[in-house]
């Protein structure tokens, strides 16, 4: 019997130990830790000082420091004062100026020699400081909700904590007016903060969504309540949790309004695409001559399954067969692996060959990542017929305007690698004028044929923060294809060293080769070769880019005809971020040789640019500064020729220095918000050989945009420009002042504006000499208009303007003293409409 009782007791004890061990919280060493003891101060009279004392218990050594942290009621951050030792405790004080005489909060922090920190309150003093109410101050005494003083330190270290005297229901979700997308799960969750003397009756807890009792679908445990639903209809809703204490008292209920976003149900949002349509008409009368221009267009984009599409259209009344087309249209279709663009496309294959030139045709592309193909074909220029005028006195019509050839382009690119971190591309481009479009002698320039082949490489590391790029291209261009290709024997006669094994006329479909083809000598000489390389390093707050390029003197790609040739050199630039990205330093240097070809009769010219500057963005409430200085110099290798070899030769050595300063500041003055912008630009050019080319300019601009307390916005701008050329021989001064006001009506649906602008200019170019001119004019412009939002998707606009130009300037000729410049009055009226969908 005794053994049985023993076994019974042992089993019971075993169960008890196991249960306790599982439920035991982590062993707390708090009772053995040093701790701060302090009697909190929760109220003060106005102008009374705060005096606090604190003692560190349990610490073996003296504290390194003890600080009293404080924050005024509306303060952003805590500051501190040192507390001084006094016997076995520390004391500190705050005068009322520290907390500006209003309510404030504080906590105490002590650093021990072992770098341990103890605080009072013990846990999260920043979030749970002691709040002090100052009575008799400017801040109402009820500014802070009265809270019980924190529990004594012993209570905290034992983990009991003081119960919150507020509602026992803590709303976890949703936040007030939180928005959920339709179909998204709405989570309602409330935590029960029970207390021993106020136990909640869990069976009484109910949840209502918009007065509908959904408790049956709610999970309620002794700690929290959770409800989840993805089928709540769009609109504003309210969750309400109610219940009772076990004592029968009603619980303070918790209400949470939230919104399920309504899916747009109007017609426009049922469309499978979105876009806009617009129409604009403008009429201007200038010096009695009327000009009218209208345009219309639109844009739409959408997605259907795997297909993304967009289309653009722009039609203008300025379209004229005497000029290149001004209308634009395009249709783009894209899937993950393929795409097709029709109309006006702007392909980019290789920046040495084809980079954004408009092509009216087709651009097809395949994108597999490992392997990609781009093909583009179309017309880059249309035929412009020459213009003739018939004169009675002349039998043959007179040519008054030369024509232009139509130009067709074909480009092909094959690349390996997606381009995310690696891509190797091979490119082919052919561009050819249609020589049969214009008769010889009636064209602006001769018809050309151009073939370019090239390759490019991209290698990137660390999300392309380290990046290497290189490109190479070789071009063949025939400047005049009127005569067609030449035969091999003719080529051998003029270029015997070339020794081409084939007859060029057999390959006229690839390129028409004749005596105007470049190059016709050894391509290894590099005259038609272009190479670029660059390296980028974006680490350690530096964005460093350096590169080198060499573009041969005869390199030409009609797909990128603006690319400068006969130039080589390098550049290096860096943008350095400092001071938590508030300060940026810009440094740049480039050095090029222009006309570097050794067989060129032109003397090479050295081009050098040094660029330095900085930008400061201190943060909200402070102005931003941008300062930049650029020094650009040009110097020919040869200053002069001896023996009179070329009497027209002029040496070149000049320096241009530009200094730019910009300040922007958003501020509030006299309760008005102002956005102020100031710019100063100073430029000076010194020329060693041509004093007449020297110049100096000073430009100052100020712009102030003000938002008033009524919904009026005004903009004042002022600009001044002083220019001096040829050491004062020629001058030009310009002043402008403008004022604009905007005001909305009818709940911002109608916005009207009016603007007045005064400009005056004066100056002269050798005014006293024959052929000289004097500039002296005043221009007054008035502009007014309004924009009306018919609906949120439709707007209508109207603008009218009047310009008065009074010119007192003249030109001096041999016969008369002056030829006065005309004065005139211009008017402009503009109408526009836009529909978004």
């Amino acid at each position: 019997m005794n053994s049985k009782i023993f076994c019974l007791a042992a089993m019971t004890l075993l169960f008890f130990i196991c249960d306790m061990a599982e439920a035991m919280p982590p062993q707390s060493t708090a009772s053995f830790k040093p701790e701060l003891t302090h009697v909190p101060v929760t109220s003060l009279r106005q102008n009374e000082k705060l005096v606090v004392r604190a003692r560190i218990n349990g610490a073996k050594e003296q504290a390194v420091f003890v600080r009293l942290y404080y924050k005024p009621f509306n303060g952003d951050s805590f500051r501190y004062v040192e507390m001084r030792p006094s016997g076995d405790s520390f004391w500190g004080q705050l005068t009322s100026e520290r907390f500006k005489g209003g309510n404030f909060s504080y906590f105490i922090l002590a650093m021990l020699p072992n770098k341990k920190v103890v605080t009072f309150p013990g846990a999260n003093p920043y979030g749970n400081p002691i709040e002090v109410q100052v009575t008799g101050g400017s801040v109402p005494a009820t500014a802070i909700e009265p809270k019980p003083a924190p529990a004594p330190p012993e209570a905290i270290t034992k983990g009991s904590g003081a119960p919150d005297s507020g509602t026992p229901l803590l709303l976890l979700s949703p936040e007030k007016n939180e928005k959920f997308n339709i179909g998204q799960e709405v989570v309602v969750a409330v935590s029960f903060l029970d207390s021993p003397d106020k136990a909640i009756d869990m069976n009484s807890i109910t949840l209502f969504i918009d007065n509908v009792n959904v408790t049956i679908n709610t999970e309620i445990t002794e700690n929290i309540l959770t409800y989840t639903s993805a089928t709540i209809t769009p609109g504003a809703h309210t969750a309400l949790v109610q219940g009772y204490y076990k004592s029968g008292m009603k619980l303070p209920s918790v209400k949470a309004p939230f919104i399920v976003k309504r899916k747009k149900s109007n017609f426009q949002d049922k469309l499978p695409f979105k876009g806009r349509l617009y129409a604009e008409s403008r009429h201007e009368s200038a010096s009695g001559i009327g000009y009218h221009d209208s345009n219309m267009g639109g844009y739409l984009s959408g997605k259907q399954g795997i297909l993304k599409y967009n289309a653009r259209l722009y039609l203008t009344s300025s379209e004229d067969p005497k000029y290149q087309t001004r209308n634009r249209y395009s249709l783009n279709l894209d899937t993950r692996f393929a795409g097709l663009s029709i109309g006006d496309v702007y392909p980019r294959l290789n920046d040495l060959m084809l980079w954004g030139k408009r092509v009216r045709g087709i651009h097809g592309r395949l994108r597999f990542g490992i392997f990609n193909v781009d093909l583009v074909t179309g017309q880059t220029a249309r035929k412009i017929k020459p213009g003739f005028v018939t004169r009675d006195t002349v039998a043959v019509d007179s040519l008054v305007r030369r024509g232009s050839f139509s130009q067709n382009l074909f480009g092909l690119r094959a690349s390996f690698g997606s381009g995310k971190n690696f891509q190797l591309g091979f490119d082919y481009l052919k561009v050819k004028d249609k020589a049969t479009d214009i008769q010889q002698g009636q064209h602006v320039r001769t018809p050309r044929d151009n073939v370019v082949i090239g390759s490019d490489l991209l290698i990137g590391f660390f999300k392309r923060r380290v990046e290497f790029r290189a490109g190479v291209a070789f071009s063949l261009v025939t400047d005049d294809i009127y005569g067609g290709p030449i035969q091999k024997d003719t080529l051998d006669k003029y270029y015997p060293e070339l020794d081409i094994p084939v007859d060029p006329s057999d390959y006229k479909n690839i390129l028409i080769v004749n005596l105007s083809t470049r190059p016709l000598d050894d391509p290894r000489k590099g005259k038609s070769l272009a190479m670029t390389s660059s390296f980028r390093f974006n680490f350690f707050n530096n964005n460093l880019v350096a590169g080198y390029k060499i573009i041969g003197g005869e390199y030409l790609s009609l797909g990128n005809s603006y690319l400068r040739n006969n130039i080589r050199g390098f550049f290096i630039q860096d943008r350095i971020k400092l001071w938590q990205n508030k300060l940026y330093l810009n440094l740049g240097f480039d050095n090029y040789d222009d006309n570097f070809r050794s067989d060129d009769l032109n003397s090479p010219t050295g081009l050098q640019t040094i660029n330095t500057g900085f930008s400061i963005y201190p943060g909200q409430g402070w102005p931003t500064f941008n300062v930049n200085m650029r020094n650009y110099s040009r110097k020919k290798d040869i200053d002069f020729l001896i023996n009179g070899a070329d009497t027209t030769f002029v040496g070149e050595q000049n320096d241009t220095r530009d200094l730019t300063l910009q300040v922007n500041y958003n501020t509030q003055i006299m309760n008005l918000k102002h956005a102020i912008s100031f710019s100063f630009i100073n430029s000076a050019r010194n020329d060693q050989f041509l004093p007449s080319a020297e110049s100096a300019s000073n430009i100052q601009m100020i712009n102030i945009r003000t938002n008033y307390q009524i919904p009026l916005v005004t903009t004042i701008n002022f600009a001044r420009n002083d220019n001096n050329f040829a050491n004062g021989l020629n001058t030009f001064k310009f002043n402008m002042i403008g004022l604009k006001g905007e005001y909305p009506f009818f709940n911002n649906r109608l916005t009207a504006h009016a603007a007045l602008n005064f400009t005056s200019a004066s100056g002269g170019t050798g005014a006293n000499a024959i052929g000289g001119a004097v500039t002296d004019y005043k221009r007054t412009a008035f502009n007014t208009g309004a924009r009306f939002d018919i609906t949120p998707q439709q707007l209508l606009g109207l603008e009218a303007g009047l310009i008065s130009f009074q010119d007192n300037g003249f030109t001096r000729d041999a016969a008369t003293v002056s030829n006065r410049n005309p004065s005139f009055t211009d008017s402009v009226i503009r109408f526009y409409y836009e529909q978004r969908f």
């Binding site: 019971t12 008890f16 982590p26 846990a123 979030g127 969750a189 924009r787």
Partner: protein, 225 residues
Amino acid sequence: MKTSSSILIAIGFSLIFFPTGSFAQNDKDVALILKTGGTVGLNKKGMSSWSKAKRGQRLHSKDKVRTGKKSLAALVFTDDKSLLKVRSNSSVTINGQRQKNSIAKRIQLTFGELWAKVTKQNVSMRIETPSGVATVKGTEFYCSFADGVFLVFCREGLIELSNQFGTLMLASNEMAELKLGSPPKIINTNPNDVFDMSEQGDLRELEIQFEDENGNKKSLIIDFN
């Protein structure tokens, strides 16, 4: 018969007065999953498999949450609404013990990155890694643990960092690292280079409206996380 009865009585006595799990209620409903984005997994205590985490799911002590690439889990602690966001490619174990109306929170960061905002509380929050422990005394912070390096950036407040080699107090706008085998130390790394602090990793759609000088309005919509 009498022996069997005695044993049954003993068992019954134990179960009545010391029911299994009676103290285990202290570790239930420690936190709640408020939001998920991307791939978020949940491993309940004692289970071997992972399930897909859902909004509104309750977390008990020792439950694990992990996120995949471009994913996010936002958790809220049920005692004080402190927020914890588990960023992409991270794994955490949530530990918490109720002490009256507060929960002593211990988050074991196995790997990855966290953001947390601690509200007023009476008990501490600790982030534990093999390299050290961060005890939160302030309000907002970022931390990450990978390859044995525990990085902590205190945005506001105070955080005590400690391991067996030393202790360090981290103040506002300071960043520190704890490595295996060395004491915690403050580092001068720009936190923007380490943590994505743009929008605390929320999965959101941002719509920005522009208006040009002619009053034409355009919207730019950015989906980001």
